[in-house]
Amino acid sequence: MANTSFTAPSERDIFYFRTRCRNRFYQAVVAYFALQAQEKGLTQAELAKLLGKDAAQINRWLSGPGNWTLDTISDLLLAMNAELDEPHVISFDEERSDARSATNAQFFDRSASATAASSAGRLEILRTGT
C-alpha cells in the first residue's frame, strides 16, 4: 500500500526550497571563509591561488551562490582544508529554532497602529491596525 503521508510539493515550494537550499550552503561556506580570514589571515587572492583560479572568479563565488554547483562547494572548502560534515536532513515535522526569531515584541506592543501576525512560520506579515 502506498504511504499517504507524503504529498507532491507545489511549484512555488519547489522554487522556494531550491533557493533556500542553495542559500544555506552559501552562507555556511562564506561564514567558514570569514572565520579563516579572521583567524588565519586567508584572503580571496590566496584562495584563488590555491585553486588555480582568477581572483575575480573567487570574488564572484563569494558574492552569491547563483552559479554554484556542488563542485564549487567542495573546491572552496577543500582549499580551506575543510569539508562538509555529514549533512543533517530534518523533517518539516521537527521543531527547529530560527536564528533571529526572537524579535523584539515590545516594539510592536508599543505601536498603536501595526499588528504582526505569524505566517506559516517563515515570515511575519504586518497590517495596519483597525
Binding site: E11, R12, D13, I14, F15, Y16, F17, R18, T19, R20, N23, R24, Y26, Q27, A28, V30, A31, F33, A34, A37, Q38, T43, Q44, A55, A56, N59, L62, S63, G64, P65, G66, D98, A99, R100, S101, A102, T103, N104, F107, F108, R110, S111, S113, A114, A116, S119, R122, L123, E124, I125, L126, R127, T128
Partner: protein, 141 residues
C-alpha cells in the same frame, strides 16, 4: 523579519504563474534567510544614503530580474520590509524612481509605527546577530 502587507501579498499572489511565480518564491526564500540563517553574508543588506534615514535594502540579485526590498530595523534582528521594486525600474542610483521608493518606505514606516523611530546604526553587525564582516570580501581588480 516583518513584511508590510502589500509586499507579502505580492509574493503570495495566487495568480502568479511561470517565471513570475518562480521569481517571487525565490525572493521569499531570500527574505526567509534573514530568519533562519545563523550567519548572513555581507552582500545581504545595505544601508542606503542618506544614511540618516535608516533605510536599508535587501538585494535579491539572482536570477534576473533583480529585486530590491526596502525597509528599516525596528530593533536588533527585527527587520521591517516595507516595499519592493524591480531593479530595472529604479534606474541609476538616486534617480527620481529611487527617491520615490525610499519616500514610500518612509511613508509606510510612519503609517505603521509613528511616533516610533527605527534603529539608526550603520554597522550591520550591530543590527544582525551573525552578520559576517564585509572587510574580508573586499575585492579590487
Amino acid at each position: 523579519m516583518y513584511l508590510f502587507e502589500d509586499l507579502f501579498e505580492a509574493m503570495q499572489d495566487p495568480s502568479l504563474r511561470g517565471a513570475q511565480l518562480q521569481r517571487f518564491a525565490e525572493l521569499e526564500a531570500t527574505l526567509a534567510e534573514f530568519v533562519t540563517s545563523r550567519n548572513l553574508d555581507p552582500q545581504y543588506v545595505f544601508l542606503l544614503t542618506p544614511t540618516k534615514d535608516g533605510i536599508w535594502e535587501i538585494r535579491s540579485a539572482r536570477p534576473e530580474p533583480q529585486i530590491r526590498v526596502f525597509g528599516f530595523f525596528a530593533d536588533r534582528d527585527a527587520f521591517v520590509a516595507t516595499n519592493y521594486e524591480f531593479r530595472s525600474t529604479l534606474g541609476e542610483y538616486n534617480s527620481k524612481e529611487w527617491q520615490f521608493a525610499m519616500a514610500r518606505a518612509k511613508s509606510i514606516w510612519r503609517r505603521l509605527f509613528e511616533p516610533l523611530l527605527p534603529r539608526y546604526e550603520s554597522d550591520p553587525k550591530l543590527l544582525i546577530t551573525g552578520a559576517i564582516d564585509g572587510k574580508y570580501f573586499l575585492y579590487r581588480s
